[in-house]
């Protein structure tokens, strides 16, 4: 399940991130305190070296010969890593510890120094007695100090190695607990029946999950609205087809029962007419249903006038048949970013409407022009116009101004409006040019 996989990845990522951060913080702390410790250790041991040297020098004043350093038993295992040498005049090795080499511990004859003697690294303190007769060198093997530091570091690391896995387990469980609201939500959504578009509860939801729930709720609302629209459209469409179907059936029954040829022919002609009408209605419904925003994702610019010329040419035979004069007034090229196929449908619907509602002998004028508001496509006729009270309603689906002899699907202007909306254009109804008829304008903001 996709949700589960996503949840796991959040969990794992949080675990890894938290563990790494903890580890890093810990390691930095360790490193810093290790360095501090090491530094303090050096100082402490150096101080010991210096003090041992001073003690030796203090002894030298009395009985150098009595000191049997050679056979002194090692007091502590650590003492084997410490050595001293006493040089007379700085040249002759007068006295030394068992662990000391024969070569000088350090070439430096004063203060602290580091040296390598016979492959061993030494930390050495050198000092002269007051008479400047004896040179005393006390050294300590570096290795000893390193071992000590290593032991300290190991002791510091140990708790980390134990607590890190424990911490990991706690983080794992904690994240799971933190993600529980998400799991509950995904359960709620997964259990839904497809027709259940009720909004999700938002009151008991944690702040982080709330945006997701709200987003889902907005989606549910949108889906429900589009479902409602679709349902209403289907109902309207079925309803609108009833009258043409009733007419076809009635005329067919009249034709079947007719005894006279004239009567039968008249009824059959009406059957054909009724089928044309129903066909036109279906075509318009499909056009409207197919108008989706995706259709105009790609927007190249096209010349409105060029498109208008083509549509006017296409509809001229219809106009001639109705004895209506169809004119395209002089105008300039007006480029508009649009989907040309849809704009042709828009133009065809407007011009076709104008021709349908025009009385014989009248003029339908098609215009394209540029105005301050943008590019305008306009169709004006000298027909009956649209009563003021119906002007807002004609854009609605299946609305027809009643009482006209003209048959229409009631969808033409809805299609025009939808196409205009898809292009961000506005469609307006105005009174005709000399106070009569109708002028429809579509304004594309450029």
């Amino acid at each position: 399940m996709a949700e589960a996989r996503a949840n796991h990845s959040i969990r794992r990522r949080l675990l890894v991130m938290l563990l790494l951060t903890t580890l890093l913080a810990w390691l930095v702390t360790l490193l810093l305190s290790y360095r501090d410790t090491r530094h303090e250790l050096e100082e402490l041991l150096d101080a010991h070296l210096a003090q041992s040297t001073s003690l030796l020098i203090a002894q030298l004043g009395h009985e150098v010969d009595d000191i049997d350093a050679e056979h002194a038993p090692p007091v502590h295992r650590y003492s084997r890593k410490v050595a001293f040498q006493v040089w007379e005049k700085g040249e002759q090795l007068l006295l030394h510890s068992a662990s000391a080499p024969n070569a000088p511990l350090s070439s430096q004859r004063e203060g602290f120094s580091d040296s390598v003697v016979a492959g061993e690294t030494w930390r050495v303190f050198s000092a002269w007695d007051d008479a400047h007769r004896y040179l005393v060198q006390v050294g300590e093997r570096r290795e000893a100090r390193d071992d000590l530091a290593k032991t300290i570091a190991e002791h510091m690391l140990q708790p980390l190695l134990i607590t890190l896995p424990v911490l990991g387990i706690f983080i794992w469980l904690g994240v799971a607990r933190g993600l529980r609201p998400l799991n509950i939500l995904s359960g709620q959504v997964a259990e839904r029946r497809p027709d259940n578009l009720a909004l999700l509860e938002t009151t008991a939801v944690s702040a982080e999950v709330l945006p997701l729930v709200e987003g889902l709720n907005r989606l549910f609302a949108r889906v429900r609205q589009s479902l409602d629209n679709e349902r209403r459209f289907t109902a309207d469409a079925a309803h609108e087809l009833r009258t043409p179907l009733a007419a076809i059936k009635t005329q067919a029954q009249v034709a079947r029962a007719a005894t006279a040829d004239d009567e039968r022919r008249h009824a059959l002609d009406n059957v054909v007419l009724g089928c044309d009408r129903a066909g036109h209605l279906i075509e318009q419904m499909l056009t409207l249903a197919r108008l989706e925003p995706e259709q105009i994702s790609r927007r190249d610019s096209y010349d409105l006038r060029g498109l208008a010329v083509a549509v006017v040419a296409e509809l001229t035979p219809v106009a001639i048949k109705k004895n209506v004069e169809l004119q395209l007034t002089e105008g300039e090229t007006v480029s508009v970013p649009c989907e040309p196929g849809l704009i042709r449908i828009l133009m065809r619907n407007l011009i076709d409407n104008a021709i349908r509602y025009s009385p014989p002998g009248s003029v339908v004028q098609v215009t394209t022009l540029k105005t301050a508001e943008g590019a305008v496509f306009a169709v004006a006729d000298q027909g009956p116009g649209i009563p003021a009270e119906a002007q807002a309603l004609v854009w609605e689906r299946f609305y027809r101004v009643l009482g006209t002899d003209t048959y229409g699907s009631g969808l033409g202007l809805s299609i025009v409006k939808r196409i205009a909306e898809l292009h961000g254009a506005t469609a307006d109804l105005l009174q005709g040019d000399d106070g009569k008829g109708l002028r429809v304008t579509v304004t594309f903001s450029v």
């Binding site: 309803h239 609108e240 009833r242 009258t243 043409p244 179907l245 009733a246 007419a247 076809i248 059936k249 009635t250 005329q251 029954q253 009249v254 029962a257 007719a258 009567e263 008249h266 009824a267 009406n270 007419l273 009724g274 009408r277 009643l402 009482g403 002899d405 048959y407």
Partner: protein
Amino acid sequence: MRILLVEDDKLLGDGIQAGLVQAGFAVDWVRDGALGAAALKTESYAAVVLDLGLPKISGLDLLQNLRAEANAVPVLILTSRDAIDDRIRGLDSGADDYMVKPFDLDELAARLRALTRRSRGEAASVLRMDGLELNPAEHRVQFRGNDVELTAREFSLLHELMLHAGRVLSREQLEQRLYAWGEEIESNAIEVHVHHLRRKLSPELVRTVRGVGYVMPRGEHG
């Protein structure tokens, strides 16, 4: 029988008119509610076929006005809305029957016959009198057991006379019930049809009441 059809759709109205004429009705067809109301004020109809989506005055308003004026003419509504609410509203507004588009023309004619029969308080659909039998649905007339061939107009005339047996009907009343608007009526048309009926059936069947009209006497023939 004369029917008023109020239907704004041109093709459907034309079809219903033609179909009802075929079924033997005289049909006046108007295409908006205002004309329908005017027709109902001036003429008397056996029944009204009423579409609901009408210009000027809606079908429901027309119906309510009609009932408010105590006009009891049987009304059958045609509706493209088949939701129960719409039907209930139609019937509650005073409709006697309804049909949902697309409907069957023969059924429409049958329902109209039933409506007019019920409005006269009759139960039987076949009219019987003195050896005469008239079946409105089948458009058949039998006299003393034999089929009689009648023209559509003769059939309608006989139907009207039988429906109002015992009552004198004037020539104008008969013309009004037999002819729709715009139908050509010869001045002596009714006389001619009565003459044909007497010839095809029996001379005594229809009596002339001089200066008044015609009557079909009730229960004289044996």
